[in-house]
Subunit: 239 residues, 2 copies
C-alpha cells in the first residue's frame, strides 16, 4: 500500500470552523498544496519549512497514532492540509476509518476531485477569494459540487478579508445557491502572540462582517462564523 | 384569532447558539415562562420587569413588523422566549411564516408539547441543568423527543455552569444518544458591562469545558459551543 505524507496528527480537540463547528474531533493534517495563498495559516505544509515534520505513513499506522492520542475518546476525524485532495491514496485511510465506525470531516479548496469524496461525511469546500492571490477554476468546482449536490454532506465556506472577497463570496453563493454556505472571518495576523489583542481584533472584524451580511439581501441563507480555535488558542499550532 | 404575547422583535442578526449557530435570522421573543432559572438571561420575559414591553399581537401584525425591520434581508426567523411552547396559538404565526417561505428555528426547555413542533425546521430543546434550580420532567421530555426523533430537525442543548451540570448533560446525552447534542458554556455574569473581561472569562470557561469533554469517552459525538452573541455584544439586549 502506498504511503500518505502526514505532517501533524493531534487531538482530541474541537473543530473550530464551518459546518461541524464545535465538533469533538481528532485531526490528521497532510502535507502538500497546489495553492500558495498569501495568508495561508498552514504554509508549513507546503513551503518547505515543515519538511522535517513530514512522515510517510500507511493507513494502519495513522490509525494507531490516532488511537494512541485519542484512546476511546473520539468518534470523528478531521482531515485537513495543505490540500488532502491531492492524495489519491488517502482513500485507504478513509476506508479504514469508516470500517472503524469513525465519522470523517475533510476540507479542500475544490481544485481537485477524488472518488473518495463520496465517503466523506462532512466535506467542506473552501474556494479561495481574491485576497489569497489564487484563481478559482469554476469549471472544476462546478463538477465537484454537482457530483455531491443533494447529498447533505457538503458545504461551501469562503473566508473574507476585504470587499473583493465579500463580492467573490456572494458570487460563489449565487452560483451554488442550494449548497449550505458559510462565511468566515479571515485572520489577518497569523503570527502575533498577543492573544488578547488578536481576540479583540477578530471579534471586531466578525462584527463588521455580520453588519454587512445582515443588510444584504443576496446573503440571506448563510451562516457567518468566526474561527473558534483562533479565539481560544490564538495562532498556536496543534490544538 | 387569539393574540400572541410578544416582548421583542429584532434583527436581522445572527443566531449565536446551537444547531444553527451563525445563521442569519430575525428574532421574535415571546413573553412568559413556566420556569424561573436562577441564571436566566431573559428573566424580563417572565419576572414582571418587562411587562410594559409586552404586546398582544396577531400573526399578520408580527409578520408586518418583521418585514418592517428586515425588508428582503431575511429568510429565517427564530422564535425564543421565555418558553414559546406555552403558546398553543403560536401555530398561527408558524403557519404564516411557512406560507411566506421562511424557515423557522425555535428554542424551548422541553417542558410542554405543542403540535406545531412538527412544523419547526430547527427545534432546539434545552433541558435545564441543576444549577438552574429547576427540575427536569424526563417523562415529558421522552415524549417530545420520541415524537420528533429521526426528523433531522431537532437537537438537544445543555448549558453547563459546574460539575453537576456536566454530569446532567452526560445523562441527557446518554438518554437520547441519537439526537444531535450541543454543550454550551454558561454565562455566569449576565449583568456586567465590562465586555472585554466578560469575553476573557467566557473564553476561559469555554476552554475548560472543552478540556473536560475531549478526555471524556461518554461525550464523543457532541459539539461544544460558546454563545457568539455574548462574545460579540456582551449582555446587550436586542442584538
Ligand atoms: S489552499 Fe489552504 S493549505 Fe493551500 S495555500 Fe491555500 S490556505 Fe494554505
Ligand atoms: S427556561 Fe429559559 S426563559 Fe425560562 S427561566 Fe429558564 S432560561 Fe429563562
Amino acid at each position: 500500500m502506498s504511503k500518505i505524507p502526514v505532517i501533524e496528527i493531534f487531538g482530541p480537540t474541537i473543530q473550530g470552523e464551518g459546518m461541524v463547528i464545535g465538533q469533538k474531533t481528532m485531526f490528521v493534517r497532510t502535507a502538500g498544496c497546489d495553492y500558495s495563498c498569501s495568508w495561508c495559516d498552514s504554509s508549513f505544509t507546503w513551503d518547505g519549512s515543515g519538511n522535517h515534520l513530514v512522515r510517510q505513513m500507511g493507513a494502519e499506522e495513522i490509525w494507531n497514532e490516532l488511537e494512541g492520542y485519542g484512546g476511546d475518546c473520539f468518534s470523528f476525524v478531521t482531515i485537513s492540509g495543505g490540500n488532502p485532495a491531492l492524495l489519491k491514496n488517502l482513500g485507504s485511510l478513509i476506508a479504514l476509518l469508516k470500517q472503524k465506525g469513525i465519522k470523517i470531516g475533510l476540507e479542500t479548496q475544490g481544485s481537485k476531485w477524488q472518488d473518495w469524496f463520496y465517503d466523506i461525511d462532512e466535506l467542506t469546500i473552501s474556494p479561495k477569494p481574491p485576497s489569497s492571490k489564487m484563481e478559482t477554476d469554476f469549471e472544476k468546482l462546478d463538477t465537484i459540487v454537482s457530483r455531491l449536490d443533494g447529498s447533505g454532506r457538503i458545504s461551501l465556506k469562503v473566508v473574507v478579508f476585504d470587499e473583493q472577497d465579500y463580492s467573490y463570496a456572494k458570487k460563489v453563493h449565487q452560483r451554488y445557491h442550494h449548497v449550505p454556505f458559510f462565511l468566515q472571518v479571515g485572520n489577518a495576523d497569523i503570527t502575533t502572540e498577543d492573544r488578547s489583542s488578536l481576540v479583540k481584533e477578530l471579534l471586531l472584524q466578525y462584527e463588521q462582517l455580520i453588519n454587512n451580511v445582515v443588510k444584504d439581501p443576496g446573503l440571506n441563507e448563510v451562516k457567518v462564523l468566526p474561527q473558534l480555535h483562533t479565539l481560544l488558542w490564538g495562532n498556536k499550532r496543534g490544538v
